[in-house]
Symmetry: C2
Subunit: 100 residues, 2 copies
DNA sequence: GGGATATATGGCCTGATGTTTATATAACCT
DNA sequence: AGGTTATATAAACATCAGGCCATATATCCC
């Protein structure tokens, strides 16, 4: 599954952000956004299939939890690009390259 | 612009990865993937509008460069989630929570 | 059991996305 | 100028994504 595609929708990043604070039920999540409950359920399905969230039933409710593993992979992918902004030497090199 | 949406297509992440090595002309990029040149030009447009790449004309060619700024923003966004995997204490807490 | 609540799924519609072929634009070269 | 190369854009098409409404499923509570 493509983590970027799962995060491409602002409602889904909003859900992820909200779950970074604490787990939440579907209805709690629904109350945070201006779309219907079925729409949220669909977004949750996308996030589930991308492995970004997990569900735990609690009675008639379903509690969604953040699963950070795919975000850690994303962090690993970004590793490759950090050199572009972490080192002032690299900044200089890039600047020279841009003007070569 | 939504950086995640711009990166949601595997060809586009491939382009970004290839530009992390060095700037490339459009034809160079086309040769890396199994799609037509117009398709690549469209992907480049999406990446351009998302600010992930910049172009510099060089004669009749156009040289595409990686622009890391949006990736740095992504890195900043991820900051919020690093606590989920960088601390062993957090791992323990999460594990206990998962089994509560 | 029966009504209420919580969540997921199916059907339908609309708009966005990705691809190809054909063509436009611009620079290069002789 | 004319032919070639490099790249972008347009048109057409198919697929996908996201939204809503209606409905199914499961749990809760009386």
């Amino acid at each position: 599954m493509n983590t970027f595609a799962a995060l491409a929708d602002p409602i889904r990043t909003g859900i992820i952000d909200s779950l970074s604070q604490r787990p939440r039920t579907v209805n709690e999540i629904v109350s945070l956004f201006d779309v219907t409950q079925p729409a949220i359920s669909r977004h949750l399905r996308v996030l589930r299939e991308a492995g970004l969230v997990t569900v735990r039933p609690d009675g008639q409710m379903r509690v969604y939890h953040l699963n950070p593993a795919p975000l850690r992979e994303l962090d690993t992918w970004l590793q490759r690009y950090r050199k572009f902004w972490t080192s002032k030497l690299d900044d200089l090199e890039r600047h020279m390259e841009e003007n070569s």
